[in-house]
């Protein structure tokens, strides 16, 4: 067996030996012919353009047959665990096969950041090209979410969000206690479509505040963000108390003063609402001066110095590598 290429330097490609190709075909024998072809071609040439087909093909092999059609379309936003019904142990099986076929190494802490198919593709592609993969999307929830947002209860419709420059996802569970459900409708609480668009807009606010790169000394002004327009809205499913909304928002164009997104909401595997365009206005302002450092108790220096890691790292329960009980 060839050993894994070092992950930091650009790997010098060594074409597959006949023996290694046999082993590769054996490892992939439950994958489609297309996947095997891509893996063999990648093994022979090291050309990264084969990686997407390899990743999709390997994931497809582990997905229940009825969910496989979802992998056919544009599927980079699909979350491997939530959307494809795979558990974290299956995710490890996928990673092992991807590692074996692409001769890369994915460490446990890196694995936690790989949530969508797009994440995996980009990660393996970067490894194959010898460049550092982007930092995983930041998870924002609880107090951090409430503190960042200019919107608050009873009008905040995000429970937990993941934000990267290219994608924002969030979840919101309809509790049934939302004030407007008392009247919408009489005796029949249904989440208003306008509120679902509002939730997507709120996720856009979070993306602007947390996911946008601006020049040093500047920030997106919290008080400058407003809803501008929406277009191409389609409703597909009625959402009721107990439903967990899964919001997905992709930036199409972001240039001050406009940020244009395309967004959708699903409940489980079912599409609930989609909007071709959701546009927010925003302004960039000078960053406020850094607050005076507050004295921290001696016992917690590490936490005080690394707030992002402390809040982000342990808060990905659904993708965390499981720790066997015994």
């Amino acid at each position: 067996m060839p050993s894994a290429a070092p992950s930091t330097a650009t790997p010098a490609h060594v074409p597959l030996t006949a023996e290694a190709e046999i082993a590769l075909r054996e490892s992939l024998r439950r994958c489609s012919a297309k996947t095997v072809d891509a893996a063999v071609a990648y093994g022979q040439t090291g050309a990264p353009q084969h990686i997407p087909a390899i990743i999709i093909g390997i994931i497809e092999r582990f997905v229940e047959p009825e969910l496989r059609p979802r992998l056919a379309a544009d599927c980079d936003d699909l979350r491997v665990i939530e959307d494809l019904g795979l558990d974290s142990l299956t995710m490890m099986e996928i990673v092992m096969l991807v590692e074996e076929v692409t001769q890369t190494k994915i460490e446990n802490d890196e694995l936690r950041g790989l949530v969508t198919i797009g994440d995996i593709k980009i990660f393996v592609d970067c490894r194959a090209r010898g460049v550092t993969p982007p930092a995983p999307a930041k998870v924002i929830l609880g107090d951090e979410l409430r503190n960042r947002m200019p919107i608050t209860a009873p009008f905040l419709f995000l429970d937990e969000a993941r934000v990267s420059p290219t994608l924002a996802t969030a979840s919101y569970r309809i509790t049934g206690q939302e004030f407007f459900l008392a009247g919408h409708f009489k005796g029949n609480p249904v989440m208003p479509a306008s509120i679902m668009l509002e939730a997507l807009g709120q996720l856009g606010v979070l993306h602007l505040l947390a996911g946008l790169a601006v020049e040093p000394g500047k920030v997106v002004g919290v008080a400058t963000i407003f809803f501008a327009s929406t277009d191409g809205v389609r409703c597909h499913r009625v959402c009721k108390p107990g439903d967990v909304l899964t919001l997905t928002l992709k930036p199409k164009r972001v240039k001050e003063p406009l940020a244009v997104y395309t967004g959708s909401i699903r409940v489980g595997q079912e599409k609930a609402i989609s909007a071709e365009e959701i546009t927010l206005t925003f302004g960039i302002i000078d960053a406020p001066p850094a607050p005076e450092p507050t004295p921290t108790p001696a016992a917690e220096p590490a936490l005080a110095q690394a707030p992002v890691a402390a809040t982000a790292a342990p808060s990905v329960p659904s993708t965390a590598v499981p720790t066997p009980a015994a």
Binding site: M1, R30, F62, L89, M92, E93, M96, E99, E100, P324
Partner: protein
Amino acid sequence: MPRIFITGLGFITSIGNSSAVVEQNLRELRHGFVSHPAFAADPIPVKVAAPVRDFKTDAEDPEDWTIPAPYSVKRDQLRSLSPNALYATCAMQQAIADAKLAPEDVSNDDTGLYAASAGSPGMLARQVNRMNQHGVMRCQPLGVVASIAGTVQFNLVAHFKIKGASTGFTSACAASAHAMGFAIDEIALGRQKRMFVVGAEDGNVETILPFAAMRALSLNPDPATASRPFDKRRDGFVGTGGATVLVLESEAEVLRRGVTPYAEVLGWGQASDGHNVAIPHPDGAGLISAMRKALAVTGVTPADVDYINAHGTSTPMGDAAECKAVRTVFGEHAARVAMSSTKALTGHGLSLAGAMEAGFCALALKRGFIPGSAHISELDPACEGIKIPRTTLAEQPRIVLNNSSGFGGANVCVVLKQVA
């Protein structure tokens, strides 16, 4: 103490994968032995085994296994199964259906599961080989769960959403009898209302052939005579695998659910030889003590017993010691009480044996027959003085004992009674 009943059975065995087929084969004394293809190579002196019917689990990858209808297992369950856990999963489905248990009867705080297996040596060997050949991080993520000694209960407890007591027993050939004994106690102590008792073995090259070097296996190449407990020319046991599941329930549950039990479980006893790690005590000292304890706690006298399902593995020493023990305990009644070894038909299921044979006893009590002891052409003089029927008797037994003995000199005796 609440009365306890057997209300459901599930069999995946060398003599059948349903109660109906098992009963027919016990009545007609049809065995499950073949010249095992995996033993064909010249250097292997052992030729006969009793493979599980209709399943094929030799492939390294469980997705290549053959699982007969009506059973099917999804990939996310299959990946953590050893062959014996697969057999146990199927036997469990049978037992649940047989006992007419609804999902809420299976998954609640008052229902537990005790299992017995030695794990899966084959799966463990593949896991270790893979680790050595391909590296630590190239092993199956669930390889540990699929191979170590608790694999059967890990899988069954999770898949069937068991919420009560659960653990595993590893006393080798007495293990599933121990599982049954302690399951009886769980109900007797009022801790559980219902217990599943599971015995399961892979029954493949890796579980059977290591006994060859111990000189415990029969070298007789004839499937029709290799396993012949109590026969003068017996020369060792023949290996088998599979799974048996018994459903034990308290009287209150039986009445609440309105089901007809197979048999009543009166109690059990156990004792150890304190003699040798692998050789039975020549007088059956531990087995004598186990049988006496079982009789004492159940208030049964030797005169009450109609049938003994012997441990009887067809090894020269074990069968002789057991006969001696039975003569000692039963005295003048030894010549009247019927004793047989159903291992003459099934082979020796190791950790499976106790549960499988308790299942046979339950069938015999419900359906009114006494299994014969097959393949005896000349009775060993060491086994004389006991009534060993050569054919199955169409007689209704009332009280039966089931004996099991394991490595380390562990002995278990379970007492069952006809439901009148």
